[in-house]
Amino acid sequence: MSLPDEVVRDVLRAANGSRPPGPCPDADVLALYAEHALDAGERSGVEAHVAACGRCQESLAAFVRSAPEAATVGADAAGVAMPWWQGWRWLVPMAATAAVIVVAVWVGQGPSREVDRMAGRSTSPVAEAPVASSAPAPRAPAASGSASLDAREVPAPQAMQEGARSARAAAESRAKTAQLQRQVLEDKATAGGVATGTIAKAERPAERARDADAPREQVAARADEPRAVPPPPATVAAAAPPPPPPAAVAPPPAPAPATAAGGVTPTFRAAVPERRTEETLTVTKQVDAVEPGLSGAALDRFAAPATWRLREGQVEHTPDNGRTWQAVRLPDGFRPAALSSPSPLVCWVIGPQGAARTIDGRTWVRITVPSAEPLRTIVATDAEAATVTTASGARIATTDGGRTWR
């Protein structure tokens, strides 16, 4: 049995009221700490302070929320570049088991050869059954809810090849996703017709609300759509007024107004064809701008491997990249109608009773959605942010895991 979230929150809030060791680090040190650029000694000291200081925790939380969106190939949603071996981590226990097999066979041949020699028999190597079938599979550190590294039977070499192929496919999919994310960033920067896409984006209240919590990147523009040609940097430089004189108290001049070409908010569609089937209703990414009247069935998806699906009214989860699917037990009486999974461990589900969510792939929590109308679709960008669309087309969004909706 686990402590309720509210209790954990209250306990930690109360602890943050205690006096932290030492003064708060300055902005320079805090930035270095957040970006892992402190040496070990300095980092441990700062961490000990931050762990007991509510002010520094809030500052770091604000710092990470304001981080520029990651655009690194192979980077994950946290902007942390995944090591090249990350996708091959599953090979470690298998390689260790293979080594055990080899050693066992080699050692086993020694005594049998000696016995045969003593008995005058041929010393040709005897094919022995692999010892590893009875050896326990080495247990890799498994993520909660993630079955891919759970202790299992040692797979046969064919399964290893299949696993390698699926790992490569997963890595390629991640790289493609990151490439599409970069594409969206570039298109956003150029669609508004200004050199700095961030200003253009910020001037649109609707997009600003969506972007408030560093959402995952959106779908790329279609290749055949004309793109606005960005003006040369000199245009922006000429538009920016000079800084105020030293004696001026007035705030700095506003940046150049940013409007898209023709005043039309650009829309984006998937660069990959729709892959929806009767069985797979997994939506893995949020569309940046959905055209009015667009039904939930036409929501765009990336070509990422789905780990959750809705089939015949039952939510199912795959621990092995789609080879097998397991039915998931939802809160009592919950009848799923649609789901959205922004990451392998996170899945949001909607139904007539509202919504439910898991963030660890196993534990489901019922979430109340303040809507009297039936819920039609849900699009989740991460464990905390999701948008549901009601039968009348109204959209309700949450950025705090369903505690509040707007």
Partner: protein
């Protein structure tokens, strides 16, 4: 005889190192004098090594500085126009973006403008401009430093607003009349005290990273991805370690509670009671109003029992 301050003196940045850093920083493009830049380097070294350092350490430290950013900041602090033009083009859009991401409303623009004005600086009584750039020492990237300053200002503003409410504010919540003090059984007081102490022990026993993971996720509402970013971890790793921290917290509370003769079955109710007692005791100790949601009801284990 050398004085204590002389014995702790930091080795100055050598002329060769200063010249090399000046060239690396391309500081000449901002018309920044070598003397001004060297003074900035000396300040950075003194800030980093308040207790002194040898030449080799100083040289290594200076070599690791973000020299170009430091030169730009130094030139801006001295009011060089070319540097300001470059800063406006390069950093101000990012500043506004970061401020909006932090505040998620119109106050983001005000926050960024306020910081921008302080960066530009106003002349003091002696006529010299005081720029916030003087506090940038080049250890981190200039963009990161700006976001960090912005974050601290935003948090300080929010925290000050939490503590202060205008007397003229019609929406200000009216203080509720204090509930009548109820006598608490000694056993119940002891159990509440045990629960609070158990929670305190469990939290103290948590490693700082685990405590931070829980705080980031449950108190500050960060996503798993954001929590992972602060620890340099993948989201899945962050999720796994967060779950482990939860378990460690619960096991710590159970162990501490059991050691005091408490019942593990009551852990959840006791934890809630203990946190209320904690809030109340902390508020009394600080002489401030207890946070909303806490009760002014039964006396806690930290107060004298009163009878009605």
């Amino acid at each position: 005889m050398a004085t204590a301050s002389q014995s702790r003196r930091v080795a100055p940045v050598s002329a060769a190192v200063a010249d090399e850093t000046y060239r690396r920083a391309n500081a000449a493009r901002w018309a920044l004098s070598a003397d001004a830049f060297t003074a900035t380097l000396d300040t950075a070294v003194a800030k980093r090594f308040p207790d002194g350092a040898d030449s080799a350490t100083v040289q290594t430290f200076v070599a690791g500085l973000h020299a170009e950013d430091l030169a730009l900041a130094c030139a801006c602090a001295h009011g060089h126009e070319a540097a300001w033009d470059h800063f406006v083009l390069t950093f101000r859009p990012e500043l506004y973006r970061a401020a909006r991401a932090m505040t998620d409303d119109a106050t983001g623009r005000e926050l960024a403008d306020s910081l921008y004005a302080d960066l530009f600086g106003l002349p003091g009584a002696d006529g010299r401009r005081r720029s916030l750039f003087a506090y940038y020492h080049g250890r981190s990237k200039l963009g990161s430093w700006l976001r960090s300053v912005l974050a601290q200002r935003h948090v300080d503003l929010v925290r000050s607003r939490r503590r202060l409410t205008s007397l003229d504010d019609p929406d200000r919540p009216q203080p509720e009349p204090a509930a009548p003090v109820q006598a608490v059984e000694p056993d119940e007081r002891r159990r509440m005290a045990d629960a609070a102490a158990a929670i305190g022990d469990a939290l103290a026993a948590l490693a700082p990273p685990d405590r931070l993971r829980l705080a980031y996720y449950y108190v500050h509402g960060l996503t798993l991805a954001q929590t992972g970013k602060l620890f340099g971890e993948h989201e899945a790793t962050a999720s796994r370690k967060l779950e482990r921290a939860r378990k460690a917290l619960r096991q710590g509370i159970e162990a501490a509670l059991t050691a005091r003769g408490g019942r593990v079955e009551d852990i959840e109710s006791w934890t809630a009671v203990a946190t209320q007692a904690w809030h109340q005791a902390l508020a009394e100790a600080l002489g401030v109003e207890a946070p909303p949601g806490t009760q002014a009801g039964p006396p806690t284990s930290f107060k004298e029992q009163r009878t009605t």
